[in-house]
Amino acid sequence: MDFGQFLSYIASGTVYTVGVTLIALPAGLLIGTILALFYVYGGKAAARVMNLYSTIFRGIPPVVLLFILFFAVSKGINLSAFWAGSLSLGVVSSAYQMEIVRGALLSVSGDQLMAARAVGLSRMQAIRYVVLPQAVRLAIPPWSNEAAIVIKDSSLVYALGVPEILRRAQLIGASSQQYLLAYLSAAVIYFLLVSLTTRMLNHLEQKLSIPSNP
C-alpha cells in the first residue's frame, strides 16, 4: 500500500468528522442560545436551573457523557452511533455555548434594552431586534474557540465505532504497523480543519463588525 492510499483512507474519515461537527455545533448553538435567553431574561428560578445545567454538563468529561447519552438514548430509540454521538456532543457543547451567549447578552448594556422599550418595542422585540444582533457580534470570538473544541471533540465518537479520522488512523496504523505516520496524518487533517474554521470565523467577525471612526 503506497502513502497515497494510506492517507486517503484516513482522510475519508473527514466526512464523518465534518458531519459530526456540523450537527453538534448548530444543535449546541440552538439549545445554548435558548437556554442563555432564559438564563438572562427568565428570572431567578430559570437562572438557577440553567446554572445547574451548565455546572453538570461542564463538570463531566465529554466522553463519559457521550457514553451515558449514547446508551441512554439508544435504549429508547434506535439511533445510529453517528447520530447519537453527534447529538450527545451537541448537548455537551450547548452548556459551553450557553455561557458564551449569556456573556455576550450581558455585555450589551441594559440601557440599549431600555432605549428600545422607550421607543415602544415590547421586551421580546427589544431583545430580538436590539440586544441579540449586538450580542451575536460579541459572541463570535469566543464561539470560534468553541467551534475548534467541537471539531477536536468530534474525535470522541470513535469510541462509539464511527469511522471518523481518528478511528481510521487507528485501524490503518494497526494493520500497517505505521502508528506514528497514521496519527501524524490524523493530526495534520484536524489541524487543517480547525485553522480553516477559525479563519472563516475571523472573516465573518470582520464582515459583521459595526463601522466606527477611530
Binding site: D111, A118, V119, G120, L121, S122, Q134, I210
Partner: protein, 255 residues
Amino acid sequence: MPKPILTIKNLTKTYGQNVIFQNLDLTVNEGDTIVIIGPSGTGKSTLLRCVNLLTRPNEGQIWLDDLEITAKGTDEDQVRQHIGMVFQNFLLFNHLTALGNVKLGLTRVKHLSDEEATEKALHELSRVGLADRADHYPGQLSGGQQQRVGIARALAMDPRVMLFDEPTSALDPELIGEVLEVMRKLALDGMTMLVVTHEMGFAREVADRIVFMEKGYIVEEGSPDEMFNHPKFDRTREFLWKITELYGKKEKEAE
C-alpha cells in the same frame, strides 16, 4: 382653556428607605415647554422615567391626555409609543445606521412597510438636519449628531409629548448648540416638551414654565421672568445664580 397633555398627581417614588420624590404634582399643557432644573440627585431623571413607565412610581397617578397610564393593566408598550424620550447618553442602537435607528420603531411598533418607514425616517432625519448622514453608524457620528438622531428616533413615533433627560450634559461644549437649536425649533413648532437640563440660556428663552426641584420636592415653578427676576424663594435665586455663573463660565471658555 389650555388642554393638559400630561397630568401628574401625588407622585411618590422610593427605593427602599430612600425617598426620591414625594407627592409631586405637575401639569404639562399642550404645546408647552416645561424645563425642570435642580441639583443632581433630586429625582428629575427618575420623574421622567416614571412618566415613561420605565420606572414604576410607588404612589400617585399620571394621566396622558385622558388615560391614566399608572392604572393597573395599562399596556406599557402602547403608552410609550406616544411618549418620546431622549437620553443623556443618546443610547442609539449601536448596530444600526442613523436611518435604521429611526426606522426600527416605525417598522416593528407602527408596522409601516419598509418603504413608508424609510420615507418617514428620512423626513425626521432632515428635520434634525441629518438626512445626509442616514447611512452612518452611531460610531461614525459626533455626539451632537448622535443626539439629533436620538431626537429624530423619538419624533418619528409622532409622540404626544417629548421627554428630554439632560440631552446636552454628555456633549462637548461646541456640540451643545446644534442640539439646543433642534429643540428650540421643536418648541416653536408646538411640540409639547418636558426637559431636564442645566442649560439656563435655553430655559430662559424657550421655556413656558420653569420648575425648580430640590431634594424630591418642587420648590417653585413659574415663567422664566418670574424665576430669573423675581423668585419667591432664596433657594431658587441661589441655585439659579450658581448655575448661571458656572455654565456662563463654561460657555465663555468654549468661545
